[in-house]
Symmetry: C2
Subunit: 274 residues, 2 copies
């Protein structure tokens, strides 16, 4: 099918590279440099959003631009199903509730990526064997969901369908809270200054998310302040409990807390694909 | 030189494998299974602590056993310089202050390892190119430090000398605080339950330390409750600040917090050995 891709960074670029073997892919980015990088890699690019068309249009821009672009696309009849890729879904869901009746909008969130960004970091395998969350909106009919599901499969990803509310609450725990703790740990480690060089792999892993680009981090934190604050609050509550029981010498409580965390990790490891 | 190793788990086993090419290594573990695993890998083992002797004796047991074993060794004249490998140094330092005058004790802490444990996880390369902290005690003379430094070099590690106080304060930030946050994040993620399978690499990295063995985690947390509590408190303070400014919509403050964390990560990356 013909697929338009808006935004040719890490995510949009990886869609282009993953899908072009089976589909007729055309990409757009407002940055001439990004278009040039994609064109050099053999991706068909156009220089204006108006030239994008297809049976599906993937919007892989920074989060703050997703709804404005969805609004521009919703008035057109030649862009097919619009699938976004943002890390939060409530804004698209809210827009869909007031979008033109005949527009078709599906929320998407590939659970892949990293702290690298830009087309240079894009790969055809980025989504392979990774979960890909699909969030139906008020403008998602069965056909739109089927088209989105097909694209997910063609990227080698594994589709899971959930509501915007469940999605955003989970992401606050799985993305925003770890980002916040990585940041707080790194800032706190300034006090370990003379021995910071000695940081082992545990500290490096624990603070890796602090390398998230500032723009993306601000979007995640301010994109849904209520959910982000609640997720940070739950980590603070857990740490305060741990500290209190530690100071009380309550070894059994601390042990049960450690075991609860290990059981979550064991569940993750069991789900880890080969 | 002749080197005794007490404790043949991940750390002691890796010392045995790293040092046996250049030295006459003899290992002891109170577990017959650990002794058998080491013997199968070609390490010379003895069945009683009393049979260990050498110009250096490395104590690589769980932390709670380090001082009791150091006490047993300190009354002997045939064990040479005693080097421990625990993650906290104040207990050995306190013991050294009251140890027999002629005993020689050096604190050691190889910044290597991981969540795996036991001789099966040991490798000759575990310490290669990793920092190795050496902490002089009241029973460390120049010769003892020189012997310890030679062993560190023969493992391929990079020696850094620091005081017990600086060591333990830094480790609370670099080890205990990340362990606590990994645990709190994993426990908090139970609320993301329907989508836990969708956790990306960021969440996995951030919670990896929750897989630390319960025994080691309890030793780290209860080994120095004051330092652990302070380190957890500093992360809580950072998270609370972040949350407060987030709720106030203070984007500039949050940005500066993110940038401070990135600068710590950049320093780590600059120090990262190839």
């Amino acid at each position: 099918m013909k697929i338009g891709i808006v935004g040719l960074g890490l995510i949009g670029g990886s869609f282009a590279l993953a899908l072009r073997a089976r589909h007729d892919v055309v990409g757009f980015d407002r940055s001439a440099a990004a278009r040039g990088a994609a064109a050099n890699a053999g991706v068909n690019v156009v220089a204006r959003l108006e030239e994008i068309s297809g049976a599906m249009t993937i919007v892989a821009t920074p989060m703050s631009e997703i709804v404005p672009i969805a609004e521009r696309l919703a008035s057109r009849t030649d862009v097919g199903v619009v699938l976004d890729t943002g890390s939060l879904k409530r804004h698209l869901a809210a827009y869909a509730a007031r979008a033109p009746e005949r527009s078709r909008l599906v929320g998407g969130h590939p659970m892949a990526g990293g702290t690298a960004s830009g087309f240079a970091a894009a790969t055809a395998d980025l989504f392979r064997d990774r979960p890909f969350l699909l969030v139906p909106t008020a403008r998602s009919d069965a056909d739109a969901m089927a088209v989105a599901g097909e694209i997910v499969r063609d990227c080698g990803a594994l589709a899971t369908v959930c509501s915007a509310e469940v999605h955003d609450r989970a992401m606050a725990r799985l993305i925003t809270a770890p980002l916040a703790t990585a940041t707080a740990l790194a800032v706190g480690a300034a006090e370990a200054a003379p021995l910071l060089d000695a940081a082992g792999p545990g500290f490096r892993d624990s603070t890796r998310l602090a390398e998230t680009s500032t723009d993306l981090a601000l979007e995640l934190l301010f994109g849904d302040v209520h959910a982000a604050s609640a997720a940070i609050g739950s980590v603070v509550d857990g740490l305060e409990q741990l500290r209190e029981r530690l100071e009380q010498g309550d070894r059994e409580y601390v042990r049960s807390f450690l075991l609860a965390a290990q059981s979550v990790r064991a569940e993750l490891d069991a789900d880890q694909l080969p």
